[in-house]
Each structure stands twice: as structure tokens, then as C-alpha cells.
């Protein structure tokens, strides 16, 4: 690697928590540098049958030793003892963008890895959902540095983190209909036992797992908060065995797999069926979008406001990868369920509200990245979206197009005119001059100032127009 590429090697700012392992990006590849202890753990783990099994099953990210690769600044406190190269995840996502089903699948993967590791004489250092990524609908564990040899007599250090970032968020959504996404986005460490306890009612005390994992957990945490006792040593002397971890994890697996999302309907579910389109127009629109994607032959497509994911599916036929985003977690969860059954690895469903997208979070606002920094789209689909952004979200039309222009790729964007029945209904709830910029002429002027319109189609007797446009050279 020459000086230039060495300078381009980029420390992954979210990987500093484990002192034995750091993630470094270089030339679009992803490496993990290890300390001496980290390397020793890797060598033991990678030689075990468990490692090969987990990679074969698609549950652990493909990883190989990267000999002779020199990476500039690695951020490790000590000398770099070894480097690994990981397979790439097409688009990085975070738990606060996942649906209920996705967080549950990630939780079950985490538990399975702990159980199988313990049985094979290994352990995982932590239990963070940020160690799980989705390749389409398939969850895959990416933190190979998390595996270490099991120390007999020691409990599972990641249990508390499992509760705070997996179990409590799922419980609160399943039982209280409190969405976990804003809470996980609000606190990088998740929901504490005390917070979870305070949010549960008397009735919830009779639910599976509550007395143990919430109430007793909270009591013990408070009781031992200022304790200086050597609990680890005491547990070991009391005969803590790995069978207790396996039993506990098995109990949590049964508990988590029984949690169900509270609702199956929402504002937008069934939206695809209730639009004002005739069947013929819907088909013309579909064909226009599919042809546009084929013409652009993009690597990465963002389908913003993907709803049931029909256009995402059409796009996936000619794009390498599609991120299907919608603000409605119920609709996205249904899409995730379908994609899981189809074993799809080309469409990543995410809960994203385009007028309030994921910011940079954590230490220095860099640990978790905003969406655009995780991969810019070559093509963005905005179908049946702009009227919601502009009229419900109050985002100026010009500002929305600025954002699209900044993404850098081509767009397929639909403009439902003020004559469209849906738009008319939305405008009727506002004062008469609240949206002076929501006019076809103004939209087209703003669009043409930023993009070259390549193609367009009129639907619904001219009440909706779909444009395909490329950014000015």
C-alpha cells in the first residue's frame, strides 16, 4: 500500500470501545486490526469448527487474515499484532432504523451465538445490537473481535447489555406499544433496568420474564450499586458453571421468540391499495419506474417512502442493492417479514422518516453515522412522497430538491398536483396560502435548476406526474 492509500485509510469512529480491536476502512475495503490479546483470541476462535460453521450458515461475517496490509493510523493503544479483512455489508444500518421483527431476529442471533459459543468453549465480550448488520433481510454478526475463550466460572458479561439494548426495547413495544426506535436513537446504551421497571404496570408483572429480568434485575442493580464485594470471585466459589449461562440463554430465547409486535395495521398499511390510481395507471407507473431503474443501472437505490416495497422489488431486478425506507414501522415490518420468507438479500427495509432522518450519534457525534455517510445512492425513488414531505412535513419544495441534489445521484420523483384528490384533502386542512410553493410550475422550475429531466409520464388525467432526472453535469 503506497503513501496515498495509507492516508486514505480511515479509522471507523464507532469501533473504539473494545481496546483489543479497531475497524479501519481503506479503498472501499474493511479491515480489523488486533492487539496481541485480540490476535490470540482470533487464532483460537478461527481454528475452531464453530467459526467455520457460523460463517457457512451466514450468521457471522466472512473474515480472513490480511497479511502484508499496512494501515496507517489504527487507533490501537499498543502495537498492531495482526489484521483481518471482513466481507463488506452493502449498507450499514442501526437498531433505531430496524423494525420489531428485525430487532427480534438480531436478538435471537445474539443469543444463539452466545449459547453455541459457550457450548464450544467460547464467549462473547458484549451483546450490542450494533454488532449485527442486515444483508437484505438476513441478520449477520459482524464483530469477530467479540469472541474470546470462555473462562470457566464466570457469568455472561453481556447479559445487562442484552437487556438494555434488545430485551427491554422489544418488551416495551410488544406490551406497551411504545416504539423502541426513538429510545434507542436517544440513548446509545439503551434502556436501563430502572427505566424499564418504571414504564411497566402492575399487570405486566405477571408477564413472562418481567419478575426476573426487570424487577429483580433492577433491585439487584440498586443493591449492588455501591458494593465493593468481589462478586465474580464469590460466584465462582459458589459453583457458577457454564451450564447456568446456557440455561439462562435458553430461557431468554424462548422469551424473546414469543414477543410479538402489538399492531398489524397503521396509517399507511393498505396505502398501496387505497390510492386514487386506476389499475391501468398503477401499471404504467410501475413500468415507468422499472424502465428508469434499468436505464440508470444503479449500484445503490434508495426508495424513500417505500411503503409496501413494490417499487423496491421492481428496482431490485436491475439494481445491485435497494434500501427501502419508510417512516411507518408497521408497513416496513411487514415488508421485512415477506423478504425474510423469500430469503431476499438485495432489499434492506429500514424505518426512516425522511423529514427527521438519523443523525450522527454517540461520542463526538461520530460513532453512528447519518444515512448519507453510509453510502450515497446512484438513484433515489421518491414516489407518492413529495406531498407528504411538503404539505405534512412543511419542508419547502426547493429545499427537498436541494437535498436530493446533494445525494448526487439520479432521481425518479412523482409530483402529485394540487388537483390530485389526496393532495386536495391534505391542503384543505391548511390555510389557503400555507403552501404557495406547492405548484407544478414551481416544482418543475426547481427540478430543472438542479437536474436534467430525461423522461416523464402523466398519470390520473394529469393530476400526477412522474419524472426521471439526472443531476446537471
Amino acid at each position: 500500500m503506497d503513501e496515498q492509500t495509507r492516508a486514505a485509510a480511515d479509522l471507523e469512529p464507532g469501533s473504539f470501545r473494545d481496546p483489543d480491536s479497531r475497524v479501519v476502512r481503506s479503498e472501499g475495503r474493511i479491515f480489523r486490526v488486533l492487539s496481541e490479546r485480540g490476535l490470540a483470541d482470533w487464532q483460537t476462535f478461527s481454528a475452531s469448527p464453530l467459526f467455520a460453521e457460523l460463517v457457512d450458515e451466514g450468521k457471522l461475517i466472512g473474515t480472513r487474515e490480511a497479511d502484508g496490509v499496512e494501515l496507517g493510523a489504527t487507533g490501537l493503544h499498543e502495537q498492531v499484532a495482526g489484521a483481518l479483512e471482513h466481507e463488506l455489508v452493502p449498507f450499514v444500518s442501526y437498531p433505531y432504523e430496524w423494525t420489531f421483527g428485525m430487532l427480534r431476529a438480531a436478538a435471537l442471533l445474539q443469543l444463539e451465538l452466545v449459547r453455541r459459543s459457550v457450548e464450544a468453549g467460547f464467549m462473547l465480550k458484549d451483546s450490542s445490537p450494533y454488532n449485527v448488520q442486515f444483508v437484505g433481510a438476513r441478520p449477520v454478526f459482524v464483530d469477530v473481535g467479540s469472541f474470546e475463550p470462555l473462562r470457566e466460572g464466570e457469568p455472561w458479561a453481556g447479559y445487562r447489555q442484552f437487556c438494555m439494548l434488545f430485551l427491554y426495547p422489544l418488551m416495551l413495544q410488544a406490551w406497551k406499544d411504545v416504539p423502541f426506535q426513538p429510545r434507542l436513537r436517544g440513548a446509545i446504551d439503551g434502556i436501563s433496568p430502572a427505566e424499564c421497571r418504571n414504564l411497566l404496570s402492575l399487570r405486566d408483572l405477571f408477564r413472562r420474564g418481567v419478575l426476573t429480568d426487570v424487577v429483580l434485575h433492577n433491585r439487584l442493580e440498586r443493591r449492588y450499586a455501591s458494593s465493593t464485594r468481589d462478586v465474580k470471585g464469590e460466584l465462582k466459589r459458589a459453583g457458577f458453571r457454564k451450564e447456568l449461562i446456557v440455561a439462562n440463554v435458553g430461557r431468554l430465547e424462548r422469551l424473546v421468540s414469543r414477543l410479538r409486535p402489538p399492531r398489524s395495521d397503521s396509517t399507511w398499511s393498505g396505502y398501496g391499495l387505497t390510492t386514487t390510481y386506476s389499475e391501468e395507471d398503477a401499471e404504467r407507473k410501475r413500468r415507468f419506474v422499472a424502465d428508469a431503474v434499468r436505464a440508470e443501472s444503479p449500484r445503490l437505490v434508495w426508495d424513500v417512502g417505500a411503503n409496501e416495497g413494490q417499487h423496491s422489488r421492481d428496482a431490485a431486478a436491475s439494481a445491485a442493492y435497494v434500501v427501502a425506507m419508510d417512516a411507518d414501522s408497521v408497513v416496513v415490518d411487514r415488508l421485512y417479514g415477506e423478504l425474510t420468507e423469500e430469503r431476499s438479500e438485495r432489499i434492506l427495509p429500514l424505518v426512516v422518516n425522511v423529514v427527521d432522518p438519523s443523525p450522527g450519534l454517540g461520542w463526538r457525534g461520530l460513532e453512528r453515522q447519518p444515512l448519507p455517510e453510509r453510502g450515497l445512492p446512484d438513484l433515489t425513488l421518491c414516489l407518492a412522497l413529495l406531498h407528504h414531505v411538503s404539505i405534512s412535513g412543511n419542508v419547502p419544495v426547493a429545499s427537498f430538491l436541494d437535498w436530493l441534489r446533494d445525494l448526487g445521484g439520479a432521481v425518479v420523483i412523482e409530483f402529485p398536483t394540487p388537483e390530485d384528490p389526496m393532495v386536495r384533502r391534505m391542503l384543505a386542512r391548511k390555510r389557503s396560502n400555507d403552501h404557495p410553493d406547492y405548484r407544478r410550475e414551481w416544482f418543475e422550475r426547481c427540478l430543472e435548476e438542479r437536474f436534467d429531466v430525461v423522461d416523464s409520464i402523466e398519470l390520473g388525467a394529469g393530476s400526477r406526474i412522474v419524472y426521471r432526472a439526472r443531476p446537471h453535469e
Partner: protein, 54 residues
């Protein structure tokens, strides 16, 4: 708290809880195993269930 198992804080109370919860779960598994064996002795169980408590 003077012990650390990992770079994350495992929580002392959380460690104690595992002894209790794991113990209860382990006891339940053991009890189930013996219950099935007992039922088999009295001919009330299908033989293929033996030794696979879940």
C-alpha cells in the same frame, strides 16, 4: 465493584441475577428431565422424548 470481565460494565447486580435466573432455569430443565423419565417408567411417555428436554 472491583471485578471486570470485559471492557463493558457487566453490572454487579446483573451478575448475581444470572446465578438466580440461570439456577432456576437449570433447575427447571433438570426437573423436566426427571419428570419425563418418571413418566416413562410408568409407560405414559413416548420413548423418543427421552433425554431431549426443551
Amino acid at each position: 465493584m472491583i471485578t471486570t470481565l470485559s471492557y463493558i460494565d457487566p453490572g454487579t447486580g446483573s451478575l448475581v441475577l444470572q446465578m438466580i435466573a440461570g439456577g432456576v432455569a437449570a433447575a427447571a430443565v433438570t426437573a423436566k428431565l426427571y419428570w419425563r423419565r418418571l413418566r416413562r417408567v410408568f409407560g405414559a411417555n413416548r420413548p423418543e422424548d427421552e433425554g431431549t428436554p426443551s
